[in-house]
Symmetry: C2
Subunit: 340 residues, 2 copies
């Protein structure tokens, strides 16, 4: 069985670990989000790709969910001693090696997809991991920074020594700055995957979708993870036209994100934080099946009325066994869809 999975970072990576246990013989291709990629210290950092690679390759820090196990942060401390930041992004000494190898290969002319394959040679994640695109896409977020925020700049000059108005400074910032530095503490007024419209799917992406038996959306962020992948022209269309079951798992359980701050960016695209609103956001033109948590069973009927087959099952990825059960439910729902 050939399974294609669209994946963000932590949620996607953990789901994939369960999926591998649930379907050990499946041929799994992961289309990874690169919209949260960022250039730091002259290095190309791909947080979501690395989280998938480290998680499936046994190198992840299980506690944090990102970065390397047994990590130290000495290089970063030294950069700070030089006055070079940002300090809010946690690049560890061991993790730096990945970004250095990646940056060196990119500089030598290899596309990101080839670089990712080379990095996976070491990690052996047991899936084929392809970035959604070899082209640069970076998600940006429009926010109003509170006065006094370091990125807001000096307070605007105002007449007669008056205090600034306190209305904040409107700014478009990198998604990582919104997510990691600000911890989504201010509303996201808009989310823009910069460069997505001009991006092409990486080699292998459309081919994997066309050859898939099942396509899964893990409980990743519907806006800045899966939404960004779908924003690359050709990918959404290929999924809709693949003619195979497309099944997703709700990242919202009981009106709140299971992990992360998906509600903050859902608001920016006018979607409420409920399991059914997210399903309707994807829409029946894309999604054939949707799993909600048992606490959201009341929404099943509404989702089915929207033309999406729905089941309520436990959706907390508390451990690999629980996650494998979720993956089995998703595959079972896919077979139900196929049988119709």
């Amino acid at each position: 069985m050939r399974i294609v999975v669209l994946a963000g970072g932590i949620g996607g990576a953990r789901f994939l670990r369960g999926l591998k246990r649930a379907a050990p013989d499946a041929d799994i291709t992961v289309i990874g989000n690169t919209g949260d990629d960022i250039h730091l210290f002259g290095l190309k950092v791909c947080p979501d790709l690395d989280t998938v690679m480290y998680t499936l390759g046994g190198g992840i820090d299980e506690e944090r969910g990102w970065g390397r196990t047994d990590e130290s942060f000495r290089l970063k401390e030294e950069l700070a001693a030089y006055g070079v930041g940002p300090e809010w992004f946690g690049l560890g000494d061991r993790d730096f090696a990945t970004h250095i190898v990646r940056t060196q290969m990119l500089a030598a002319g290899y596309p990101l997809s080839a670089v990712t394959e080379a990095l996976c040679d070491r990690w052996q994640p047991g899936v084929r991991l392809i970035p959604m695109s070899d082209d640069r896409v970076e998600t940006h977020v429009a926010v109003t920074l509170p006065d006094g925020d370091p990125a807001a700049g000096p307070a605007a000059a105002s007449g007669a020594g008056e205090a600034p108005s306190g209305s904040g400074v409107r700014k478009v910032i990198h998604f990582q700055e919104y997510w990691v530095r600000l911890r989504a503490s201010v509303p996201a007024e808009a989310v823009v995957p910069v460069g997505a419209e001009q991006a092409k799917p990486a080699p292998g992406v459309l081919e994997a979708i066309a050859a898939a038996d099942v396509i899964l959306f893990p409980p990743s962020n519907p806006v800045v993870s899966i939404g960004t992948i779908l924003a690359v022209p050709g990918i959404r269309e290929a999924i809709a036209e693949a003619g195979v079951p497309v099944v997703g798992l709700s990242p919202i359980v009981g009106d709140a994100p299971v992990r992360g701050m998906a509600d903050k960016v859902l608001a920016a695209v006018g979607v409420e934080s409920t399991a059914w609103a997210v399903a309707e956001h994807y829409g029946s033109g894309l999604l054939d099946g949707w799993l909600v948590d048992t606490v959201d069973a009341a929404g099943v009927e509404r989702i089915e009325e929207a033309g999406i087959r729905c089941r309520a099952v436990p959706l907390m990825m508390t451990d690999v066994d629980a996650t494998a059960r979720m993956a089995r439910e998703a595959l079972a729902l896919a077979e139900e869809v196929r049988a119709v």
Copy 2:
């Protein structure tokens, strides 16, 4: 008093520490060798500049003489796990920060001299450190690698299954590979500062020489450290024409290098490893005074016959006090020269 010092790595840096103690009020400008610079992992590494900066700034590993104190090598281990080398060059986790900041600033368009000044903002070495040139110069060494050396490549095919001749493979390699990987274990057949002829002195170099009251050559390597600086067109001439005392300290004591493997590269330029041969190599057109160690007192007369004023004094930099005494002797010899 304005002192200009031409410096390589460990020897030059340690001498400078003594000089600062000997002449605490002097205005010291260091012209640093960049011929041993190397690009590693996509990063620009300047070993000699960093050794001077770390040594004078209190960040050096005293035991090794290079790299950072309290260092770890986790990033390098990870690079090796990716199969990315070279493994023979010791870049530590803390040291990496310097190269990352430097590379990022160079990529942003700053010349190496401006980058070095920015790095020194943190280290406050107490001297003005200027690279000899902002242009890329890299010393290469012609060697015959023994068969079986990893860099020698596969054994040449030979007829009828005969074993290769065993005569080795002639190759031109980066100085660092010769010095660090091979530890100068094969003869240097030629030493070429690639790019030196096209290089221009960095801003401030010629001005510092012209304004100097004294110019010193520490006991640095006469070929690959001071020789490389002198190979940048304009620097040798400026020193010869400065009209101020130029005094050097022999890096050879009792027919052997005090530290390092200077004898290996002296042979490549046809100079024997003696305190007097090195003085004659610089020549009376450049050098006004020369200090040899007391064990080499027999050579004083020969050097003076070559037109270079010479004194025999203890030249072992066993600690900062001993080194300060050497620096005082050099400054005293400079005053003798000036008084003539």
